[in-house]
Every structure is written in structure tokens, then in C-alpha cells.
């Protein structure tokens, strides 16, 4: 399929779009590919838009092009694109089909026409000599070229401190920066899991939590003045994710709310620019464009940047830098995985960013090495609330039938609980065959099964008159033949499956008519 030539007349690649990965949070790529009608304009603008920095001469949009190159393309695509950048061609020529195909050995299974088209990287053109030729689109081409040839490392110039007005606060250390992000997220998660006495997060976040369905009003308090918000199944899913994924879903939802193309462009540019920053480096606020300056408070709420009011510099946090992995150097050879982001966040300082290591024992005890109240709240979502111990460095809790069932009622699934426990399982047992004892796993599954022992399905009840005994028997027989007889009572009641109800009633009518023709009588059918 992949090697068959695309129809030359059209701009669209021949193959159907590859289905998007059904992962829980849509990726950056997914977002870009689903801009719909805004796509061509947005992408073109992103590639050609001027760099955030205004002080030094810079190729337009180069950082965005780099981000695309390093983050969104697979190895083959990257290789092909880089090769095409190096080649020169005129406005109406490109790589011919034959040449292009010769670059591949065997099938082009890792080459996705649709994706590269969506990202406005390549265009397919009909050619006179051969069937088609392919070339890079101009904004991307020029942007990437200058990016590759540029020596600039930072999206914003690092002005010497002397050129800026003095900062009222000393620059944050790496640990402070990490703790800052962690704090913001812990605050959000605390609120999400309903830890007592937590402050409400700021309105942006609050709105996000509610609008995205991560929390819902507790049915009991709905409508009252003091509405209580509770975590939903979706929220629980959210909680189980890595911090980087959580931040991304916040950012993703924020992007979804944006309507105008220009605001999308400016947000995306800021995000990609941040991803090219260096951790613990301060960047001058003064270099930000006006639109970016307005975005700053939101990014601060999400824990992406750190700055104190009045400070001349802002500091991107590690999560912002790794959110959309961007710099070429970091992604040479391999792309950072989301887990490495997580470890980045949790490694630097054990005391400030407590890790959660859980041992689940065969007697249903959950021993969690942590001192974080957040972890306590998380675990209490499915562990026994009345029977646990909080020690300075460890929590000892129990999984009981009641506690687990209560969490099922909230919509949390057994698989989610297991996933959470597995994800945080203690390094001591990670290598073992099982991270959670088999008996605990199967017991959780059994408890979940208990919830669904009764299946409800629609049924239809047909009543018969005293003298309609024969008809009743026939109808029951008719339904039984079709496997739809559920119950036949003594007092002239036949219950059939809903699917065959119509047929059964029709059959009854016919039989009644026949029977009446024989005996003479009155049609008196009650159908409920």
C-alpha cells in the first residue's frame, strides 16, 4: 500500500489517515492534527511567525520547526525530512516518485503521508514527467533550515543581569523550582481527592477541574448553597497519571478552549519556546511579546513557569521544559519518555518531592513508604478509612471489602486501583514476578464482579384471560422456540424477552383471532 503512488492530482496523500493512538490523553501531535479548518493557517503561521525574541536577529519560527522535527516525527520521517532540507530545488520541482521510493528499502510502513501533510511539512505535486513529486513546504523548509544553521540556543536571549533592573528576590534554586511545581500540583490533587482542609485552587484550575468532568457535585449536596465537589471516575483516572501527563491534560484542555487562531498560535509558540529553555535559567520578562505576557499568569497556575511579581526574570520549570520535548540535543537518538519526565520531577530532592513506594501484602495490608498527606488521601480513596496508621515515613493501611466497594461506588474501577498500586510498587518487589500478590488482585476482581452479578434487561409481560389457556400455551411455546421465554406464571402471565415482544404480541393476536373464530369471544388483551 505504502509504496503505491498517490494520485497526482490531489494534494492529499493516498493512504487513509492512520488511526490515532487511543491513549488516554491526546498527544501534542493529535492536537495539531485535529485543528480542522484552522490547521493550514495555524501551521503556516507557526512556521513563519517571528521568534519570541526581538533583540537578536533570528530565523522565523525556527524553534517550532525544531520541535516538530524532534518531537513529532519518527526516525524515518526525520531522516527523510532532513535529507529533503539538504536538497535544493526550484519552485516547481521536488523529489520525484522514483527517487523518493529509492530512499526506502522495502515498505514505507513508518512513513505517514497523512501526518506530514497535516503538519504542513510536505506537499505532493503532480508532475509532467513522472506521476508525482514531493517537496517540503516553504515556511517549514526555510524555518528548519535556518534553525539548523543557527547558533542560537535559547528562545529568549539571556541578558546579563546588569542590563535588567535588580530582582527583588534571589533566583530560585533547582530544588525550589521543582518543589514549586510539586506544590502547585499537590494543591490541585489534594483538592481533587478531597483532603480535608485544603485550600481551593485558583479559579482557572477550579474551572478546569469541573468543566472537564474530573469532579462532580456530590448528589447529596447538589442544588444547596454549600455544594460539595467529589472526584469522578475520570478524575481518578487523571490522578493515576504521571505529573507530566496531568500537566499536559490541563494544557490540552486549555488549548481546546481557545477559539481564535491567533491565540492558538501564540500559546503554541510559547509552549514550544519554553521547551527549548534551559532549566534554572532566568529569562527576561521584557523580551516576551504582549500576547505571551498575558498568558503568563495561566502558565503560572499550571506550574509551568515560576516568577514573582516585579522580578525581571521568569524561570521555566522542568515540567514546562519537558512537556513538549523540544531541543534537538536532548532528543538526539531517542525521545524522552513520559516516565523519565516523572523521574526528573521526583529525583532531585527526596525530602521535598516524596516518592510513593507501595508494598501490597498477601494479608491485604498496604504499606506505603511516603510522608505526603497527598498520598494518604489518594490511598484512602480505596483503603479502609477507619483502620490505618500514619507513621513518620510510612503509611499502613488495609484493603477491605467495604473500602474497595465504596470506591467502586464512586466509579473507580478495580483496574484503576491495581494500576495505581502497580505503578507505585516498591522497588524492592518491582523485579519480582508480581507486584501485587495474586490473591489480592483476584480478590479485587471478585469484589468488582459482585457488583455486577445482577444483569438488568428489558422484558415484556403478556397477560391472558382465564379462558385463553390454549393461547397462553401457544404463545409460551412460540417464545420458547425462539429462546425468548423468560417466565411462565400460573395465573395467565407470560414474560418474554423485549426483543421478541412485538412478535409475541402479534402472534398472540393472531392466535386469539383464530381461537375466537373457532369459539367466538371477545378480544380483551392488556399489554403492559
Amino acid at each position: 500500500m505504502a509504496s503505491s503512488p498517490p494520485p497526482p492530482a490531489t494534494d492529499l496523500p493516498p493512504t487513509l489517515p492512520a488511526s490515532f493512538s487511543a491513549s488516554s490523553s491526546p498527544s501534542f501531535l493529535h492536537y495539531l492534527r485535529n485543528l480542522g479548518s484552522k490547521a493550514p493557517k495555524t501551521m503556516a503561521a507557526l512556521y513563519s511567525s517571528p521568534s519570541p525574541s526581538t533583540l537578536s536577529p533570528q530565523p522565523p519560527g525556527s524553534f517550532f520547526a525544531l520541535t516538530v522535527l524532534t518531537n513529532l516525527l519518527n526516525e524515518i520521517e526525520r531522516c527523510v525530512v532532513l535529507r529533503m532540507v539538504a536538497l535544493e530545488w526550484t519552485e516547481d520541482s521536488g523529489i520525484t516518485e522514483r527517487d523518493f521510493n529509492s530512499w526506502f528499502i522495502g515498505s514505507k510502513k513508518d512513513w505517514d503521508w497523512e501526518k506530514l501533510n497535516d503538519l504542513c511539512i510536505i506537499s505532493l505535486n503532480p508532475s509532467r514527467s513522472s506521476s508525482w513529486f514531493v517537496k517540503l513546504r516553504s515556511p517549514f523548509h526555510s524555518s528548519l533550515r535556518s534553525a539548523l544553521t543557527s547558533t542560537q540556543k535559547h528562545p529568549w536571549s539571556l541578558l546579563p543581569s546588569a542590563q535588567l533592573k535588580p530582582s527583588p528576590t534571589p533566583p530560585p534554586t533547582l530544588n525550589e523550582l521543582n518543589a514549586y511545581t510539586q506544590n502547585i500540583w499537590n494543591g490541585i490533587l489534594h483538592y481533587l481527592v478531597g483532603t480535608k482542609n485544603t485550600q481551593e485552587p485558583n479559579p482557572t484550575v477550579l474551572r478546569f477541574l469541573r468543566e472537564t468532568g474530573l469532579m462532580d457535585v456530590d448528589a447529596k449536596t447538589a442544588g444547596t448553597k454549600r455544594e460539595k465537589w467529589e472526584i469522578t471516575k475520570k478524575g481518578y483516572d487523571f490522578m493515576l497519571k504521571d505529573v507530566s501527563e496531568q500537566v499536559w491534560s490541563f494544557v490540552f484542555s486549555y488549548l481546546q478552549t481557545l477559539q481564535s487562531t491567533s491565540s492558538i498560535i501564540s500559546t503554541l509558540l510559547l509552549l514550544t519556546s519554553l521547551s527549548h529553555c534551559t532549566l534554572s535559567e532566568g529569562y527576561p520578562v521584557s523580551l516576551l511579546t504582549k500576547s505571551h505576557k498575558t498568558l503568563m499568569p495561566k502558565f503560572k497556575d499550571f506550574g509551568l513557569i515560576y516568577y514573582t511579581s516585579g522580578s525581571p526574570k521568569f524561570y521555566p520549570t522542568s515540567i514546562a521544559i519537558s512537556l513538549i520535548p523540544g531541543s534537538l540535543s536532548s532528543s538526539c537518538g531517542h525521545l524522552p519518555s513520559p516516565t523519565s519526565v516523572h523521574s526528573l520531577l521526583s529525583l532531585p530532592d527526596q525530602t521535598k518531592n516524596p516518592t510513593l513506594n507501595i508494598i501490597v501484602q498477601t494479608n491485604f495490608t498496604v504499606v506505603a513508604y511516603t510522608s505526603s498527606p497527598l498520598h494518604l488521601s489518594m490511598l484512602l480513596l480505596f483503603c479502609d478509612k477507619d483502620d490505618y496508621m500514619v507513621l513518620p515515613n510510612v503509611l499502613v493501611m488495609k484493603l477491605t471489602r467495604d473500602s474497595v466497594k465504596e470506591s467502586f461506588k464512586r466509579g473507580i474501577k478495580c483496574s484503576q486501583i491495581l494500576k495505581f498500586l502497580k505503578k507505585h510498587s516498591h522497588p524492592l518487589i518491582v523485579d519480582a514476578d508480581y507486584r501485587i500478590p495474586e490473591n489480592v488482585q483476584s480478590q479485587l476482581h471478585l469484589w468488582e464482579k459482585e457488583e455486577v452479578r445482577i444483569k438488568c434487561s428489558l422484558a415484556f409481560k403478556i397477560y391472558f384471560e382465564e379462558e385463553e389457556k390454549e393461547v397462553e400455551r401457544d404463545v409460551a411455546g412460540w417464545a420458547e422456540e425462539r429462546g425468548g421465554l423468560i417466565f411462565r406464571g400460573k395465573g395467565g402471565v407470560v414474560v418474554v424477552k423485549y426483543e421478541i415482544a412485538e412478535g409475541a404480541v402479534r402472534f398472540k393476536k393472531r392466535r386469539v383471532r383464530e381461537w375466537r373464530e373457532e369459539e367466538g369471544g371477545e378480544d380483551d388483551m392488556i399489554v403492559y
Binding site: I359, Q361, T362, N363, T365, V367, S371, K385, D386, D387, Y388, M389, V390, L391, P392, N393, V394, V396, M397, K398, L428, I429, P437, E438, N439, S442, Q443, L446
Partner: protein, 787 residues
Amino acid sequence: MGTQMKSHNTLLSKPLSALTLKPDHSSRPLWVLPTGSILLDTSSPIYSTAYDFLVTISEPQSRPTYIHEYLLTPYSLYAAAAVNFTEKGIVTTLEKFSKTKVPENVKDFIKKCTSRYGKVKLVLRSGRLYVEALNTPEGVGILRGLGGNKEIVKCRVIVRSEEKKEGEEKNELEEEGFIEGYVDDEIKGNLNVITGIDDEADEDDSSDSDSSDEEGGGHTARLLKNLDQTRNKTSSVSFEIQPALVSVVKKTAAQLNYPLMEEYDFRTDETILSIPNYHLRPTTRIRRYQEKSLSKMFGNGRARSGIIVLPCGAGKTLTGVTASQTIGKSAVVLCTNAVSVEQWKQQFEKWTTINSGSNKDTGRIARFTSDHQDKMHPDGCILVTTYTMMTFSGKRTAQSQAFMEKLVERDWGLLMMDEVHVVPANTFRRVIANVKAHTRLGLTATLVREDDLIADLNFLIGPKLYEANWMDLTKAGFLANVQCLEVWCPMTPEFMREYLRSDRMRQQQLLYIMNPKKMQVVKFLLNKHQSRGDQIIVFSDDVRALVYYGRRFEGQIIHGGTPEFERQAVLRLFREGSINTLFISKVGDTSIDLPEANVIIQIASHFGSRRQEAQRLGRILRPKESTAQDGTNTDSFNAFFYTCVSKDTSEMYYCTKRQQYLIDQGYTFKVLTSLHERAAEWCRKQSPKAFLSTKKEQVEILRDVLEETALAGDAQKAESEEMKFLRAEGKKGENRNLEVDFFEKRSGGLSSVSGGGGKSYEERSAGKGNKLMKQRKSNKKINIFDL
């Protein structure tokens, strides 16, 4: 006795984060909580040392693979005091091991419990009784207090000053009638843990014994050497009391909050003759944990009374035999039934030279059961008997009466009680009153009782001296690695209907035991394991069902009513491997040693008895030939423990409850929810005839069950309901006249079907059904099924 800090093992939800974590906490293995709970991290490099310490001072609550939970109780501290652990030693060691600072209230609790325990001892030396304390100002003070008590004064033997040899230098203590003496120090191994783990030599010692776990021979020698070596002595002070009034002294001392710890100085005792030529055979090897438990018993060169807890199959008998041999005096061994009397005798002969060599003709082991009443050797001998024989209150035969009188007359060096957990406290009181024994040793695998009477044992026998960890022994290959499986068998619709209708427990029970799906599963499992060449025990508490199953599957049956000779014969056949399946009632729960058995199928059990579950598991715990002893034993299972439960009945509830003790020992139960489907499928394919696969066959069983239980029933109504149902079922099925059948069959009931009619049955079970039955059929001979 000081108030217990916490009655249950539940974890408290108090915020305990106020505890301060020590900076080097990661190298310490314990958390000590203000509730008296102690958590032990088993991944710690000093786990083994910490375990030995904890098991001495506290009660294990739960011991799964990673984090153990222990609880400090007055009894456990009493036991620690008994092996000469001092308050200071306990607190400093606890502090040394603890990740957190030991809470003050825990320290206070330890102080409170140990300040009085173990300070005063009742010592039996050369046939005379002394109340002894250490010769320290504190010890002397306590002794003065006790000795001056007006009750105790009456009991004291007054030592006249002229009896003293060197009267010229009388000191104050002698004036008061106190005697100065010496007591051996506790052997080093026992106190290692509280004297200093930093001591390099000790570390070497422990690692040495770790590595040579399998080679017990050396340890035996070492243990004995330890006992014989001249050791450091500590000065002690004591006063003598009259043996006849010992109970008054004990009671008074307990009232004064100084319970007397009983010790027997057997090495100096001349009053009881030693058994000549009584040695362990050179081939006898003692394992490390057995040695450890014995070293607790003989810690200071004297014999202490107490209880040793070892899992079934871990060699309790050998431990008992060695204890008896170490003391070397006459001993009484009490077991639960005649079968285990035989086994004890065999074990004595197997491990020691007691009945060989010069003793060959005389016979130093005497059995005292209803069947065997061997001649008791007039000098030192071992007497093996059952609790029932000892406490029988009815009229005995002349021979038995004479035997009993001789027994009561004599003094015994040791009273050994097997399976102490099964015997009610008043039985103990009578036994202990009857047997004049200088040391009492209780042996058990499961120190749990549903009625919490364990506390009584503490004062009737003595503190718990040692408790082994099941999982550690399994890992080391001393126990078989058992896969515990719970097989869910749904009730057939007919059985479920009757189960829900029934308001009589007996009937409900029989319904879920005789559930055809369960029978299919049993059939399937039997076939599967028989074809593997396994030795299978099928357990049922309900004798009717047991017999029914046994007949149906053509297996040998043993229950309370089986005559002794038949039992022995069947057991022998099973041990030889001539038969591979044994159907046994609760008489097989304890003591019957079937080393080759490796599969248990449990079809009915005694409600929620945790102890029974553990005991039954114990039947297959003895290591098999395939059991690896190199620490890899947990990799694969070599024994199987199936419990068949009927789904949606109260059996499920009891089943969960029963498993608790084993779960606390680190066992896991795997639930098989769909095995019954495979079993049903397999049963359908059986040739020449499918097994219980037609509704007709299943309804027949139901009818048998209903008829059987209807006899015991009081409600006429229930009967007619059942009949109505049966008639309906009959019409639906085979169109035959069940009504006639029903009335014809009534006289026989299940017993005629199973062929067990006419046999008498001894086991008793309390319950309403029983009573009703007796009322109704009081004029008839009690039928085997009329439980």
C-alpha cells in the same frame, strides 16, 4: 496483671506521625508504635536477629512476606521475663532496632510488666521447693515482702540456725531464714540479642548457624554442651516452702502481683530417678529452630515450664523428645488420641536409645490407653497417654484404676502436653492436679482459640517460650510449600431453593456440603491428583456427608466411630501407598502423622475455626522428597490444599473467617471461580456413565438430604413443602411416582444409601439438631448419622 495496652490487633487510625524518625532510620528494622504494636521490615539485613528478639518479647500478629506486625502484651513480656530478659535489656534493644524513638508509654508499659514478672521464681531443687530471687537489694526486698506475708509464712519451712554448719558468721539474711545460693546465668545465645548485636563474635555465631541450618547434628551437641558447661553464676537468695502448700504460695504470690516462675533444677535432682541409657541416637539431627526453642526452655541450666509453638510438620515431636531426653527423668506425655499415642511411642524409639541396648527387655515406654496398658517400669520411664484417659471421671476397669493410682503416686520430671490448644482449661486443671510433674511443656502449632482461652494456658502451663515463623521455615525447606486454593462451587438451582427455604441450620449445612456441583469438583480433583500419584486426604466435619462421599468415591473412611484396629490398618495402608485416598472426619485434624500426604480436599469444616484450618493444612506440611532445602522452596508448590465452598451460602462467610490465621502467617488463598465448569464438563464425559450430570441424579441426592434432615426436623410443614417440591420435580423429570418412593425410602434415609447404618458414633457436636434428634428418637439406639 497490668492492663493490656490494646485488646485487638487492629491498626489504629490515630495520627502517629508525631513519632520522631531517627536520622539513620533506614538501617533499623522496626517501628515501635505507642499502641504497643511493632512493625518489622523483613528486608532488613538484621531481620533474623530482630525476629528472634521480637518473638521473645511480643506476640506475632501477622507475618506476611514483607512487613510483620507484632504486639506487646503482658503475657509476651511475662514470657520474655521468663527467659531472663530484663526491662533495661528490652528497652535498649527496642530502641536500638527502632526507626522511630520508642514512645514513652511503651517504655512504661514494658517497665510495668517486667518489674514484677520473672523476679521471683519457684525452684525445685533436690525435691525441695524454694522461692528464689536474685541477691540484689531489689530481689531481697521482694523476697522479704513475700516471705513476710502472713499466708506465706505459714507455708515456709523454718530453718533452724543450729542446722547451719558454720553458724558463727550469720548474716542478716540468714537470720531471716533466707538461704543464699547461686543460679546459672542464661546461656549466651538466648541473651545475645539484648546484650549487643554489635558484638562481632555474636554476629559470627548467628551467621554460622544460619548457614548450617540443615545440619542439625552439630547443634544438638552444642545445645548439650551449653547445658553442661560451667557457666557464670549469679548469687541468689531464697527460702524454702512446704511442697504440700505450694498452691497457696503460688496463689498468694500472684495476688501480690509477683507471679512465680517455675523452674526445675533437674541436674541436681536426685528424688526422681533418671532413665538409664537415655540418649539421642547419633543419627538424630535437630534443626536450628528446634534447638532455639529448646535453648529457651533450658536457658539457665534449669528446666522452665512453658509452651513451644511450631508449625505442624516442623518436628514438634522431635522437639518434645529432645526436651524429655535432656531432662532425662520420668515423663508423662499427653496426646489427643490413641493413634498419636502410638506415634509418640514410635518417635521416642526412633530418635532415642530409650528402648534399645540395655533397656531393650525392660521397656521404658508405657502406653496407657483403653486398648493398651503397658507395664509401667518402676524406675524412670516414659508414659504416653491421652487427655481423655487422664480425666476420665467414670468408673475405670480394675487394671486401669490401678495404673492410674500408680501414676498419681509418682513424681514426674516432665509433663509434656501435645496439641495444648485443643484441651479445655478445666481438663488441664485436672491433669495438672493429677500428675505431680516438675516441668510442664506444652506443644502446639496454633496458639489460637476462637474462645480466647489462650490466656489460661499462660498460667496453667507457662509462658510461650518460642514461636517459629511459618514462612521462614517454608523458605528454608523445612515445610512443604503449599498452594492453598478455594474452589467455588455454585449451588444447583434445586439445592439453592431448598437452602433458602430451610430455616434449620443442620439442613442448610448438609445442603451445601452435598451440593452436586461440589461432588463433581471433588470427583474431578480426586481424579486429577490420583493420576499424578498424589496421596490425598478428604476432610469433612459432617460424618454423614463424609460417609456418603467415601462410599460414592470408593475410598477408605475414618471417623470417630471407626474401631482402633481398623484405623491403624487403614492408616498403615495409606502410609505404604497401597491406598491413595483417605476420607477422614475431624479426628484427623491433629496428631495423625501421614508424611506422604500432599493433597487435602476439604468438603466440610467446623464453621469459622481458624485453628482447624491451620491444623488441617499441617497434615500436608511435612516436607516432601521434592522439597528444596536451599531457600528456593517458595518457587513451586509441592502440596495442595483445596477447600470446596458452595457459593452464596454461609459456607463462604465461614471460609473467609477460617483462613485468617493462615493469612496472618503469610499464606495466600487463591480463589478458583470456574473450576466447577471444568469439573462438570469432565464429569459429563465420564464413561461408562456420566457422573452426576443429569438433573435426576442431582435431585436424588437432594431427596436423600431432605429425607435425612427431615427426620430431625420438628416442623411438619417443612416436610410437606419438601414433598410438594419433590413431587413437582418428579413430574417434571421422569414421570414416576415419587410419592411412593418417598415414603418407602424414609425408613432408611441417607444412611442406607451410604451403607453406614448401625454403626455407633462417638464424636459429639453441640447443636439444636442433636437435641431434637435425641428427644425424638430417645428410645432408639443412636444411629451413626444422628449427630
